[in-house]
Symmetry: C2
Subunit: 557 residues, 2 copies
Amino acid sequence: MAPFRLLIVGGVAGGASCAARARRLSEEAEIVIFERGDFVSFANCGLPYHVGGVIAREEELLVASPQLFRERLRIEVRLGTEAVAIDRARQLLRVRELATGRESQERYDALVLSPGAQPIRPDWPGIDLPGIFALRTIPDARRIRGWIEERRARAALIVGGGYIGLEMAENLLRRGLAVTVVEREAQVLPLFDPEMAAPLAATLAAHGVRLRLSETVLGFEPDPSGGLRARLSSGASERADLVLLCIGVRPETELARAAGLEIGERGGIRVDARMRTSSPRIWAVGDAVEVKDVVTGRYGPVPLAGPANRQGRIAADVIFGRESSFRGAQGTAVVGVFEATAACTGPSEKALRRAGLWGEEGPFEKIYLHPDHHAGYYPGAEPIALKLIFRRDNGRIVSAQAVGRAGVEKRIDVIAMAIQKEGTVFDLEEAELCYAPQFGAARDPVNVAGMIAANVLRGDARIAHWENLEGFPGLLLDVRTEEEVGRGRVPGAVHIPVDRLRERLKELPRDREIWAYCYVGQRSYLASRLLSQKGFRCRNLSGGYRTYLHRGGRVAS
Amino acid sequence: MAPFRLLIVGGVAGGASCAARARRLSEEAEIVIFERGDFVSFANCGLPYHVGGVIAREEELLVASPQLFRERLRIEVRLGTEAVAIDRARQLLRVRELATGRESQERYDALVLSPGAQPIRPDWPGIDLPGIFALRTIPDARRIRGWIEERRARAALIVGGGYIGLEMAENLLRRGLAVTVVEREAQVLPLFDPEMAAPLAATLAAHGVRLRLSETVLGFEPDPSGGLRARLSSGASERADLVLLCIGVRPETELARAAGLEIGERGGIRVDARMRTSSPRIWAVGDAVEVKDVVTGRYGPVPLAGPANRQGRIAADVIFGRESSFRGAQGTAVVGVFEATAACTGPSEKALRRAGLWGEEGPFEKIYLHPDHHAGYYPGAEPIALKLIFRRDNGRIVSAQAVGRAGVEKRIDVIAMAIQKEGTVFDLEEAELCYAPQFGAARDPVNVAGMIAANVLRGDARIAHWENLEGFPGLLLDVRTEEEVGRGRVPGAVHIPVDRLRERLKELPRDREIWAYCYVGQRSYLASRLLSQKGFRCRNLSGGYRTYLHRGGRVAS
């Protein structure tokens, strides 16, 4: 009897982890990986740092070689081999060796599609001019490095201010290029809410990266002085020696479509929780598939390495008869840009609004805070701007976003675990986390987030948000010190320092609501507790003056 | 009618947080803090770093001043005032001003005891000689700093190798002193398991800290050359200019005992989940009380700042009629020593054994792993030695310990949240955590821990532990490379590199069990999967050669 034959299309992330897991589950199966490119199992996420020279040698990006697959796992890897068609009825995969054009039919008992995604390359005029790159593979990185060196490139234009765009901004600057980032939205990091992305924009600007927000590229043309010129929607133009397209990826579904597999509404291959496609004996994993968002329940592509790896493992489990299923994706992500880190887990407010789930009286509430990343009395404490979204009805945590210089991704990871376990803000309040002065605080930022949110839910602290200030008919109350107010205030605010509040109650109106703020929201919380108990109607402006400075995504220090 | 009167004994951590929360809940109550010392709300945990000069100015340790309590919170703080007796029947607290000896009776409606704990000062001969200190308060730090400067102290002896002892070792070394640590147990960090404390001992030794393990101090005497001489149980003696006692703390319960409040078996004040003592109208919080361990269900003192703060807040909630309760303590803790970090959450194996809960066929299993703290292909990846304890029956996570140079406390924090939410190893396997190459890995150490443990529970990987190797009648199999074996191996092991295993199966016995190991346990996992499928009885030695090097707490690099 012929051995069980598992074929895998695509040997990076999901495909590679599927193959390795499959071998551990079955020593007898025949396992073959077909990879169109020249490398398997390479560190995609390291490419920007290789271009920037942080990861000096290309070999360091190779997590596993065909030789390792062969010798250690007895898995055959066919590089430079493209899967061109699936014959579902006969369980045959047609593959083509790119170098020779030679085709063959490969029998399978199970087929796993892990083709990944392709960088989006819009149909702009001049898009094929030399000097315009995307970064997805090792050869891409080679071409970009080569171009920079050969052309002595001095100016780079990055189209798209998402994760890879910003990582490339840092890395190209590191190589001495002047960098301009063009982003269609009014903010960088479109997956974040604008007020949370604002501090990162400030960091980029401080390092000399030019940001052109709310701008799109209309097309490219050769510049008379050499290089390229990009025409922008504002009418302006930008010259560059190098253009990098970082406007996202598109699931690679050609093979799946041609085979008649079901494709989801958002363009990825449809799979169930066991990573099965609509066709028996065919599984799909990684950037090419649509997965369920654990919070919103909606399906879409989640091009992240962690989920891809888990999916590959699950597909192998299922193929070899195990109970295993993918719980869905949370969209936990992090990006480091210069000294700043931004991280998130769960959907942004923007995403919830877009999905029609956010409303004034809707199920969600949010808070802002700016705790130090470790005890303030220990040198080097850095503030973290943190936003927590939770449900009003039961306190369930929905998502979090954070940006700062240290300890940022740690808090997001803890909250990610809390979300996974259906935790509430009360759980965050009660979390027992590591504390020594150089690592955290007796009240860790996670605890503080939980306390603030729990206070809101218990009715101890009614809050207001800066975006609702326009047209607010009540009194805006600044409870900071004279000195702080001297450094900047919100127009129209009445100033009474918190420590003087009890003796100056007479100055406050009883017929209008009062919205109080301080620098980060702590003193104004005390103020609003005090005023509420004295019979005033009062709300605390969440996040205080610091969040005010970031409102609307405006760049502020 | 007289206002509600809340008296608080002790103004640090739990007492201070209770007072502040109480004011936010009631603007009308009269709130008074009696503090025996000269400071309220100071950063106890920062004291070692103040002695070491990292926190340069004493004022930085003052989280809140009596003035702030008065002006912002309308809370009266009476420093230098000791609570001497409680008249429960009449609800009176007798207090004494230490400077004048003047006593007064203070009426209370609610009384919160937050007296903290006292450093243990054994009754050794010579214990009162000048130059022997403990570190608990700001005046203690002043005295130690003064002594070092005035005496030009050059050699320090630290008695006790726990958290504070090790922090002080680093900080005294930073000040140029030669440091010796005497520890009664055969390891540093007695709250950790010996094999997990071993890497930290290696770090200390590498920095020139002399460790005298399994040693106790018998007494002190003046040394003829000046300073002190400590006589040790081994017969040796140590000269020092400065001796620091870091052998733990004892709950301060004198006042509570005298008032007839119930005291627990482990010497702390007994309280319920609402922080109520055995007497109505009296609450107690912080280092003086016994709290329930959420994992073992046992009661004991947990002298940590985080729980103390939460308890203070809860006592205030309950006093002012809120539903609020303390969920218990997990014992999450972290210590940084030079470039190393050690952190834990939940009980150690040692603690479980001591409690009679650990046995060969008992409910618990453990695994070891040594993942990099971030993607190995990004420069600067540092291994983390991680130990995870979980239940065999349902996979529930019991505890974790970790030691390494970076990213250590992050993983413990995530696991702490998982434990809080009654998570399993399967949850760790599925966790979706931040990944970019400088922050984590597509398979974060937390995921890897979950995968390894889940493999054990699913029966995919039978494991063995090094401590059971003695007398093992089977075959010990080393599957590392020739080169690795050349650098050191376990006596008696047969060597077959994993990549050659399939062709050399004939060399292995079918009548005896095989225990396989590699450097960290990953290749030997593959080997044991392979061998099991080929009909061999095989186990994987958890943690590999790296854990072998740390076995029994032996110091190894």
